[in-house]
Structure formats: structure tokens, C-alpha cells
């Protein structure tokens, strides 16, 4: 008899998986029809549903402190958005530096900086910008947001084509939030450490290290510290030079 052997090859398994695209397995990242924009960081893209920042959704970035590379994480997406549309910064913690944007190829003419006096005004402004729809992205900094305000922001974001990032302190990670994508950001040398705490997909086990190009890094590779001056007689002179240079700078 010439019956073919009943073995399922890897290719056939792949084909079967492709045929059942509507079936979502808990171990997989969600695939939906929502529009996303690549983060510009391959490692982060591979861990996000649809491989990018979701549009029309509230994205929460929980930062350990301000100024740890959170804007550089957003740099690629902001650069592509600001080329054509406006980007609103609502209640940032410090003064945004237009020159840094320019050095990052982010069109600084399309930046809009709002300085609301109160948190309520900031939320109102963000909602108005989302409703209006003439801006490409909104970045909102808030320390304490009430859950109903979060729901309202999420609803406002869902009804527009605007990207919305909410930057909050890391302490808010324990609170419930309607946001479909939440991640904590911690400083790391030469980049940033990203821990996705909520996404449409399986739990992300370990923090990702995202290297950031424009993060300042030491120009020289740090030498192993030499504890004892007396015992190490055969010290190479280059190290001495480097050490002495460091002491002068510091």
C-alpha cells in the first residue's frame, strides 16, 4: 500500500497555525487590527502586540525618576510623528529643550508645550487635544491620577487617531489601570531598562535592556580599579595616565 506516512512536519504545523490566525493562544502576543507604529527599537518591538506602540490607546510609562532616557525611548516615534503632525507636551516636569529635539531630528516647530496650573487643567487639555484630533501625539505627565480620570483619558484616546503616552511615577505600577499597555522604565547604563507589566499577551518575565544611541556613555572603557598602589609595581603607564586624567576631571 502506498499510504503517505502520518507525520506532521514543522512546515505543516506552521501552515496550520497560519490557517488558524483567529485562534489566540495564551502564550502568544495578541494580534489585532489596531494600528501601531514601530518603536524603533527591535527588541521592544518584538515584545509588543502588533510590534509597536498602539494608536488610539492610553500607554502608560511608569518612570523611576524623570530624566532616565524616557524621551529617547520615544524618540523614533516622535521623530516620525513630528515630521507632519504636532506633538503636545502637557505639564512636563522640566523645561523641554528644543535644541535636543533638533539634534534628534524631531521637528521642533511642531512641538506644543502646555503648562497648565493644575492637574485638572492638564487632564482637560489632554482631553481637548484628543477630541480635536489635529495633533499627532500627546505626552502627559501626571503624578496622581484618579482611576476615573484614567478611564476618561482611555476613552478619549480610543475615539481619536492620536497617540497618547501618560508618564507617571513608578509607584503607580501597583494601581489598577484601564491602559492596555503599561511598562516601567528604570535607568541603565547606555540605555534604559524596560519592564512590560501589562500587555495583550503573556506576562513578560524579565526586564528588557533597550540600548539608546544618544545616551551619554563613557568615552573610555573603565579599567579595573587598582586597590593597592604599593604592591602593584609593574603598572602599565597608560593606566596611570588614565587615572590621573580622571582625577583631574573630577
Amino acid at each position: 500500500m502506498l499510504t503517505p506516512p502520518l507525520t506532521i512536519t514543522a512546515a505543516a504545523a506552521q501552515a496550520g497555525r497560519l490557517a488558524m490566525r483567529d485562534v489566540w493562544r495564551a502564550s502568544e502576543l495578541a494580534i489585532s487590527r489596531s494600528t501601531t507604529c514601530s518603536t524603533g527599537h527591535e527588541l521592544l518591538d518584538s515584545e509588543l502586540p502588533n510590534q509597536g506602540w498602539p494608536r488610539s490607546a492610553l500607554i502608560e510609562l511608569l518612570v523611576q525618576q524623570h530624566g532616565i532616557g524616557e524621551m529617547q525611548l520615544l524618540k523614533p516615534v516622535l521623530a516620525s510623528l513630528a515630521a507632519r503632525q504636532r506633538v503636545a507636551l502637557v505639564q512636563p516636569p522640566y523645561l523641554p529643550h528644543a535644541m535636543a529635539c533638533r539634534a534628534w531630528q524631531v521637528n521642533d516647530r511642531n512641538l506644543l508645550w502646555l503648562k497648565p496650573a493644575s492637574s485638572a487643567d492638564a487632564l482637560w487639555s489632554a482631553e481637548q487635544i484628543l477630541k480635536n484630533g489635529s495633533c499627532g501625539a500627546v505626552l502627559l505627565w501626571q503624578a496622581n491620577v484618579r482611576p476615573e480620570a484614567l478611564r476618561r483619558l482611555n476613552l478619549a484616546a480610543q475615539s481619536t487617531d492620536t497617540w497618547l503616552w501618560l508618564l507617571r511615577p513608578i509607584a503607580a505600577a501597583a494601581d489598577a489601570s484601564p491602559s492596555p499597555l503599561r511598562m516601567t522604565l528604570r535607568p541603565a547604563a547606555g540605555g534604559i531598562s524596560v519592564d512590560i507589566i501589562k500587555r495583550k499577551g503573556p506576562h513578560c518575565d524579565q526586564p528588557l535592556f533597550i540600548p539608546l544611541d544618544d545616551m551619554p556613555v563613557p568615552l573610555h572603557i573603565p579599567q579595573p580599579a587598582i586597590d593597592d598602589h604599593e604592591t602593584d609595581v609593574k603598572r602599565p603607564p597608560a593606566v596611570v595616565a588614565a587615572r590621573s586624567a580622571t582625577t583631574v576631571l573630577v
Partner: protein, 463 residues
Amino acid sequence: MVVVEHGLVLAMSRQAAQAGVRLGMRGGGVAAIAPDTTVLERAADKEDQALEAIATALMQYTPDITYQPDWSLLLDVSASLTLFKGPHALCLRVLRSVAALGFTLQLGAAPTAEGAWLLARNAPRKDQPKGRRVASMERLQQRLNQLPCELIPAAVPFHGWLTDIGARDLGALRRLPRAGLLRRTDKHLLATLDRAYGEAPEMFEWIKPPLHFSARIETFERVEHADALLHGASSLILQLVGWLTAMQQAVRAFTLYLEHERGRSAVAPTTLEIMLAEPAWHESHLVRLLKERLGKLELHAPVIALRLEAVKIEAMLPPNASLFPEPGGTPQDYHRLLELLTARLGADNVLTPASVDDYRPEICNTWLPAATRRPKAQLDEVFDGRPFWLLPKPIALLMRDNRPFYGSALKILSGPERLEAGWWNDKTAARDYFVAQGSDASCYWIYLERTTDARWFLHGLYA
């Protein structure tokens, strides 16, 4: 509340009617039956103003408006029906506009102006159909035939005679021989009848809108909170919109004057000037702007009247519609957003970058109000290695073990970048900038001030 004319009750509120007040009662009688009632004398000049306000507001639906006796307005909407999506939708909008002004009206609609006027003034008896709006000529004639004769002012002197000969309604009146009727009554009676039935042409002199817009409204009581003024202000906006539409103009700047009660000395009115980036004639946008501005205003004295003046107007531009809507909204949308944000947050809090050609970061990083127009920035230079966050004021750093300390001891990564500027206007900045890193790997932009007493400052954060 009761309105009295020549000592007789002319109109009353529902509460007064429940208390027993009836039409035609004497003023003294009202005081006896219901002592709490407010008795007001009829003010003809205020009624004129109200009618004028309604006419101005309704100009947004048609430029052809004229006054008609018995406090009526005639609108020729034959050219506006398609624009406002049919007679029913238009009637609803008219009703809503007049309600927004704070008045009630009886609306009649018919193919002839005189017919619509008669239908609007008729108080239907129980045996008559209720509707006051008809679309076809045949229906109008049927409805007119059932109306009582005394609706026509010219027929009132002959009311008794007409009743005696059995001509109770207009249908019976029209069946009478024309020549005899003309001999025995007024010629205006027959003329009105002909116009109402569409047998004679109707000629009107339409109201011409004034060249300058200024409308005033008195509040019902002394208003002490700016928010409470919104209702009065929005009715003024409604008039402004009507006037703008009639003039084919759009407003660029308007002023709202809040008039205060005159005490011992005259109090100058509080003025609220509103400038628009883009000329507008849309009611909702103007009302929203005004709402945000009124919400921020604090009144120093109670307000008794509001006045609105259009300061700067421009020709209305037709909407420039493209085939496909732009994804980011139109520039007009963006201007509207800026106006709204500026109205609530203040112009100094809605900013865009206006980089100044200067080496000092705090000067270079200048931001200007987004709502103002200005020439494009000339600075094309790009300095690399700048942090995204700048501190509003540099923080002097502590020193520990001869190292600058901010949270942890800072390690210098790169530098120095020498910067020396401002010597020409006594704001000398002589600094050496370094990039430093804390123990948790976050990076800082710090500088050493090159003075005799050298100190470290934190100026930026690499975000």
C-alpha cells in the same frame, strides 16, 4: 408674576394663575388675591428690543426677515430649505434658537407669508386640527377655511355684522360676493384674504442689518458669578452669529462688556476681549471660547447688563473642502484648539519653541505663545549632546569627597564643553559643561562655573 397694562392684567405666570389671577383683572385685585405676586408694567421698548434680538438671531437662517403686526416676524425661507435639510428641520432649529434666547414663540409655516402668519396666531379650538405648519397650497386653503374671521385685523370692526350673516370662518367669508364685501367692508380685508390664499403677490420690505454689531441684554438679577453670565452671553453670541451670516462676514475679534451697577460713582464696565486666530462664525466655537474666558474671570462687582460688540470683522471665506479629509485635521481645527487652550490656560502657558541664536541654553531655549504669529526662527544651527530636560534654574550641587553629588556621587563621562557668552550685557556666563553619571546610571548635564569661587551646578537631565 403678572404683567399689567393700563391697570389690567395682560399676562401672568402659571403660579399666578393657580393663585387665582385671571386675565383682565385689575392690578389692585391681584394684590388682594395673591399679595406675593410681582406686578410688572408692560414695557413696550423692551418688547421692541426683544423682537429685534430675535430677528437678528434668526438672520442666520434667511436674510429675508420682516416685522409683522402683533409681535410677529415673517421669514422667507424658500431659499434656505435645502441648506437646512427641509422645512421640519429648519422649524426645529428656529424654535431652538428662539428658546436659547429665552423666549417662546408660536411658529406657523405655510406657502404664503400671510397664511403662515394667520396659522401662527390662531389658537386652535378643540374641533380644529392642531398643527400650525402646512406645506402644500391645497392643505393651506383647507386650513385657512376653518380659521375664524377675527384673526384678520381688518375684519375686527365688522365682527358683529359678519357673525350675524353667518360668516364665522374665512371659508364662509370668501364665499360671500366679492363686490358686496368690498362695498360694505374694508379693502384691506380682501387684500389680506387674497394674499393669504395665494391669489395676490406679497411684497415685503426686508430688514436691513445694521453696519455695526452691538447688542445689549439685561440680566434678570444682579449676577455675582461670572459663570452665571454664560446664558446671557450665549444669547448675544446667537445674535452675533445671525448678524454675521446676514452680512456674509466672519468675526476676528469681539468684546463683551459686563456692565456693573452704578453706585455713588459710575463703575466702568469690565471688558472681555476675545481675539480669534482664524475668523469664525460658528456659534458653538464662540460660545465655548466665551465659556472658558468667563470661567476664569473674577467679578469685582455684580453685573446687571451685558453688551457684545464685534470689533473686527472679515469677509466670510467659503469652506475649502478637499476630497479626502486630512488625517491630522485641518489647520482651522488646530487654530480652534489653540484658541480653546489659550482661553483656559492663558497665552503664556501654551507655547511653541522659538529658538534664539545664543550659546546659553536658557536663552537659546526660548518658547513663545503659540497663538501669536511671528516670523520663522532663523536659528538653523544644531548643537549635539544636549539633554532633553533643562532645569528652570540650575541647582547648585553639594560636594562630597571633592565630587559633585546629586543623589549619588557623580562620575564625569565627557566634557568639558566651554561656553562663554553674555559678556556684552552683564549676564556673563562662563561655564564648562560636563556630562556626569550617577550611581544608578542616569545621566546629568552639569557645569562648573568659571569664577573665582568655582561651583558645580546641575542644568539638565538626559531623558
